[in-house]
């Protein structure tokens, strides 16, 4: 049992896995907002270092950082192309070839943007790899979030592998029936239609059956929902969330307000 008075110690720092998704979300939002507001590479690096430690403790480091690399490598290449080579505002030229000019200012801008983007990507991925869909459903019942929203969030995450398998089966069946799979544009369009239409038909039929099943169970009705699942939480975490929620606007007002060092728009 994972109840509030379960076997985990009630006091002390919550262990990874015993942290409420709401606490994680609050911490991630606060870190992203503060890092973006300050806009300094040293803070971004510090946050990324903290994320590395946190993901290592939660044993999600390999998954989070490999997924982040897949997103950040093209992003870095795009930034280098856009700002590293073409930055009209740059003056300190390191290398030039035709219209391309590698400038210190352009590299600095691209680096700052990359670090800020990396904070957003790594922290949100760390959060999504630590959340269980069942906890999202339980929290939505607890806080009376519209049932439709929780259903769509959780259903999308769970039906994706099923649709992928179904698409594979349809592709194999069409190929057995002699589907032309050439590389020309008409052949690709024909194979897209031959795959997409049966797939769409099959998922729409399933959706119709699911809708009927959900409706007879009172889905989306006005009655309050309950959940058997107990999402881990504690008073310490609640205090943390409220403190951050109250402190973040104060920080932003002070940071961007007159007389402070922040960069106002």
């Amino acid at each position: 049992m994972c109840g509030a008075s379960g076997s985990w110690p009630e006091a002390g720092i919550p262990r990874p896995g015993r942290i409420s998704p709401l606490t994680g979300l609050t911490a991630v939002v606060a870190a992203i907002v503060v890092t973006t507001a300050v806009g300094h590479w040293s803070l971004s690096l510090a946050v990324l270092l903290a994320a590395a430690v946190a993901t290592a403790a939660a044993r999600t480091a390999r998954r989070v950082w490999s997924a982040a690399a897949l997103i950040l490598l093209p992003f870095a290449a795009s930034l280098l192309l856009t700002h590293g080579l073409f930055f009209p505002e740059g003056h300190t030229v390191l290398w030039a070839w035709g219209p391309a000019r590698l400038t210190v200012e352009g590299l600095g801008f691209a680096g700052a943007m990359l670090l800020r983007g990396a904070v957003l990507v790594v922290l949100l991925l760390a959060l999504s790899f630590s959340i269980r869909p069942a906890d999202v459903m339980a929290l939505s019942a607890k806080y009376e979030v519209p049932a439709q929203l929780a259903f769509v969030l959780c259903s999308t995450l769970t039906i994706a592998p099923d649709i992928s398998r179904r698409a594979q089966r349809i592709r194999e069946a069409q190929q057995l029936r002699g589907l032309h799979t050439g590389t020309s544009l008409p052949a690709r369009a024909a194979s897209f239609r031959a795959l997409a239409v049966p797939l769409l038909l099959s998922v729409m039929n399933d959706a119709g059956q699911r809708a009927a099943a959900l409706e007879v169970r009172g889905f989306g009705g006005p009655a309050a929902r309950t959940s058997l699942r107990e999402v881990p939480d504690s008073r310490l975490q609640a205090v943390f969330r409220w403190t951050v929620a109250a402190g973040l606007p104060v920080f932003l007002v002070l940071w961007f307000g007159p007389g402070w060092g922040g960069s106002a728009p």
């Binding site: 973006t36 806009g39 700002h83 930055f87 943007m113 983007g117 039906i159 922040g262």
Partner: protein
């Protein structure tokens, strides 16, 4: 007088009013954020990462999209709600696939436009915003574009309602116009939050405009005005192909299709 207690109109009216307020707040947040960013084009974009503008773009567009989702989703029939996850998977799979190629398109709105054509502008807007939110579980860089995705769904629904899917040649026209507006809304996010774009092919177009001396926001807006209209014209055409390939008994199950004669041959019920 006495009939009111039989139909419980007060609770229903209150809920409708609350949802309407949320819708207005969501639309106002998106429009206000865009107007603020364009009118106060920050000079700090090239001299630094533009932290205030990034926060305003991130929070304003995202808050607006979430408000729209919360307002619209409970009003949708269950048959539409259960179809939304399918549309989201379609968006994510196509978006991930095309995003990994060197083509300056996205094709990540097929599911959104499909729902909009079958269930209307509100369902399309909710699907678009939800698509960005759910996709961000795998790729957080799409999260700030939630408002743009909602706009695409809303405009696709409007186009369907006004008969742009009744004639095959009108679908890409509607897609083109939707792409222009979507590109204009998405450009400030790409500029202030990401300093350009996260794709290599689109980045090459931005850098070409930068090499011609354009400011960063101008270059990104021009890139968006090249990529988005063509992308949406293709998406709208593909969706038109798909909905006409589906059996009539399926498409006519949707009251929106029947009521507004969305497809050629569909009649009022």
């Amino acid at each position: 007088m006495s009939s009111s207690s039989l139909t419980l109109p007060e609770a229903g009216q209150a809920a409708t009013r609350n949802r309407r307020i949320l819708e207005i707040l969501g639309a106002a947040a998106i429009a206000g954020t865009y107007i603020y960013l364009v009118l106060n084009q920050p000079a700090d974009i090239a001299s630094g990462p533009g932290s205030a503008s990034a926060l305003i773009a991130l929070s304003g567009f995202l808050a607006g999209a979430i408000l729209l989702v919360v307002a619209v989703l409970p009003t949708l029939p269950t048959t539409t709600v259960v179809l939304i996850p399918v549309a989201l998977v379609l968006n994510i799979v196509m978006g991930q696939f095309v995003g990994s190629t060197l083509v300056p398109f996205y094709l990540d709105a097929i599911g959104t436009v499909l729902i909009a054509v079958l269930a209307g502008p509100a369902a399309g807007a909710a699907t678009g915003a939800l698509s960005s939110i759910v996709w961000s579980f795998f790729n957080p860089t799409v999260l700030p574009f939630a408002a743009g995705a909602a706009l695409i769904g809303f405009l696709a629904g409007l186009a369907a309602r006004h008969g742009f899917f009744r004639r095959f040649y009108l679908a890409p026209v509607a897609g083109f116009i939707t792409g222009v507006l979507a590109g204009v809304v998405s450009a400030p996010v790409a500029a202030f939050v990401f300093g350009g774009t996260s794709g290599l092919a689109t980045g090459a177009i931005v850098s070409a405009f930068r090499a011609m001396g354009d400011s960063l926001l101008a270059a990104i807006t021009k890139q968006a005005l090249i990529s988005d209209p063509m992308d949406k014209a293709i998406v709208f055409t593909l969706v038109a192909l798909l909905v006409y390939a589906l059996p009539r008994r399926l498409t006519l199950q949707f009251p929106f299709v029947r009521r507004f004669r969305v497809l050629a041959g569909s009649r009022d019920s």
